[in-house]
Symmetry: C2
Subunit: 485 residues, 2 copies
Amino acid sequence: MSGEQELGVTESKEHNPGDWYAEVVQKANLADYAPMGGFIVTKPRGYALWEGIQDNLDAWFKETGAQNAYFPLFIPESYLEREKDIVEGFDPEVAWVTHGGHNELEERLAVRPTSESIIAPYMAKWVRSHRDLPLRLNQWCSVVRWEATDTKPFFRTKEFLWQEGHTAHESEDEAWDETMTRLDQYERLYTDVLAIPVLKGRKPDHDKFPGAHTTTTTEALMPDGKSVQGATSHYLGQSFAEAFDLTYTDEDEVEQVAHTTSWGLSWRALGALIMTHSDDQGLIVPPTIAQEQVVIVPIWNEDNREEVLDYAQAIADELDAGDIRVELDDRDERNPGFKYNEWELKGVPLRIEVGGYEVADEEVTLVHRPDGENVTEDNDDDLVETIEEHLDIIYDKLYATAEANLHENIREAENRNEILGTIGQHGGYVKTAWCGNESCETEIKDTISAEIVMVPLDRDEEPIGDTCAICGEAAHETAYFAKSY
Amino acid sequence: MSGEQELGVTESKEHNPGDWYAEVVQKANLADYAPMGGFIVTKPRGYALWEGIQDNLDAWFKETGAQNAYFPLFIPESYLEREKDIVEGFDPEVAWVTHGGHNELEERLAVRPTSESIIAPYMAKWVRSHRDLPLRLNQWCSVVRWEATDTKPFFRTKEFLWQEGHTAHESEDEAWDETMTRLDQYERLYTDVLAIPVLKGRKPDHDKFPGAHTTTTTEALMPDGKSVQGATSHYLGQSFAEAFDLTYTDEDEVEQVAHTTSWGLSWRALGALIMTHSDDQGLIVPPTIAQEQVVIVPIWNEDNREEVLDYAQAIADELDAGDIRVELDDRDERNPGFKYNEWELKGVPLRIEVGGYEVADEEVTLVHRPDGENVTEDNDDDLVETIEEHLDIIYDKLYATAEANLHENIREAENRNEILGTIGQHGGYVKTAWCGNESCETEIKDTISAEIVMVPLDRDEEPIGDTCAICGEAAHETAYFAKSY
């Protein structure tokens, strides 16, 4: 897959973030555009990042009682219609299968836009008594939503990869705890794996998942000032259980309606990852999920080629034995400068340079991808540990930069013009007192395309002002306005 | 998910294998039927077996240069038409998406029945020079084939999970080596993970994958005498590369057409697993991929309840620390006999029984699931090793039974009536000399529903007779006739 990556990134992240993002995605070999508008092809280097996310989340899900399953790709139209909010919420976005082979189907089949309507009836069938609860199912799959808006690889595509968890519980408290457990795991993924701090909150009532009681969200702020909804965890209350007869007999043999949740994280997390850390040299991936954590570039001349290569190979072997994902770039046909550029474009977090001086002094020169910091270290018995420390430092650098961006860009506003002016000038989040009516959000949205991306998780939290910054009526909560992906 | 599994299997594997199979699948909680005919819902215990297969194969694929990727679920009709054999081969089986939201699409989209038509054009785009080869892509996904025949969970479903590998190479030799590497990995999966011996061979030319030069197969013989096509690996020659302009410049800067392969294994492997080892008590899973390798059932009375439970818990902790997947069934509300039946139904390969005698003598009683063999062993410092040895013995028992079935059921026949009589009486494989014409297979197929499931891999191998057993013309190869799933 040469050719494409031989030219570096030409667009500027600061001045033209949209084109820059598209260029990084393509030139770092993460994805390509599919023939159908709105679809992408995920290339091996992009898919490896998704596998990194899967490995982490899947292990945490299993440790906390979730079991993987697989439900059909198609949902009969009549099933989709059983929960009215679902059908109203997704109907405009559904891809419909109408023919199987040469025959028209008797009933249209929806390509799943989400699977509540097909999973809930089976949970209803499988659950009989309180001993069958909690029931926690998860599936890794793709879903299709026929969105009309512009495509952005990973951020917004008609088909996307995700996981969707679906659980049923005896009580509201248990279901709410489940909702929070999953939200906390999503936060952990962003914080501890993707090096991105997030805010946790709720969606305003008019922007909940169709049919949900409460939609909770993790929001990540991008360097261009826009917010990304990083994952959502829904407390569904009893509405789905009622629509699908998901009931159980309690300890006193009395029939009860279950409380359910659903929660999902999509490959949008990859979009946030790429957008947050990368720069005008290309992709930057944190060591946690980098396909190669370390690349070794040997620098030789005619006289010391074998010596330098042997030295580099020994280091590669040692790091490999120490479970560090390392690549030795010993290609003859490329010079070191070309290799630096290529591995920078691909986002490898740490480069080790070894040449005649390093061999002579038994040292290694380390270069941190995020800021180019250059450090010389001894190549002694502690090399694996030394490299691990540097990988941790690089992770912390990435996180610190993202955290500073978040902290600097949460501002408050007391009236309509302040909201518009602050977002217009700085982007980021603007906190303001809000009456709770969608019409006040609409007013801002129509003027500047910013919306309420979240309100505080705690419904009893006092708003930051007494009156709504937009209409002046009594305020009920604090709204976080932002432009969003 | 109680209730269903409380009743054991009622059908007989020997006398009614079809109904017995369906009952095991449902009562061992592997799968349920979907609302649309021909589709199934894969329950957690079924999906865990698929994950076991994935973990093994995926690691081997990666060790041998394959990279995972993800291509779109949909293929535009015009893409499907670019390779004429593909479109003719799959057209009657394609599910078509015609509407996105409320709008009719300009071009119909096929839900992928296999992905050559969408992957090959991208391989063509990504490959420019010989340095980009070999290119080895794999994806784990579901595909849809609108087959009209009866559904059998895992064996035959309109949607099924599989992996599909697609590779491009400089030479025919390399592509053929790739084809064999994958076939060998499939054989390894069956032999070393699923405890099922397989035969390796080629499909007759009239039964190749559409457009392929050679289709190789692993065939597994079921206890009911039918053959299962366990996985296929196709050497595609240059036909796909030509249809999709998959070319590269060689070392002399001359443009060449690549040689390609594709290879796939589906969840039919789970069908073969269930069918091969299980019995009238329910499922039997080899220790290699069993969700629980060991179940401990404590047997207590009023006087020694705490003592027995402590003893059982200590064993569970020790096995868990030794990386054995163990479950302690300490439910109060069920008696040991009920627990035995339930875990036998679920297929756990080894049961440990501990009661007053075992506590007093510092022993454990082990029961092998496949044959009920009962052994007492010391509960000493080597317990983990002892249990591992028994798990190996159980694996070997399962394999030996399947191997004996295979060896006893390969027979030869010299004429039409012998073929029909032998398959009619014994099932299994019947080897016979064959002229190579489909019409001779058709004659057998129409009479007894047996077909040629494979011919020898080696094209130069002499047939076992001089003349075709059916038509009497000169024989060109040895055909393996069998009824098949």
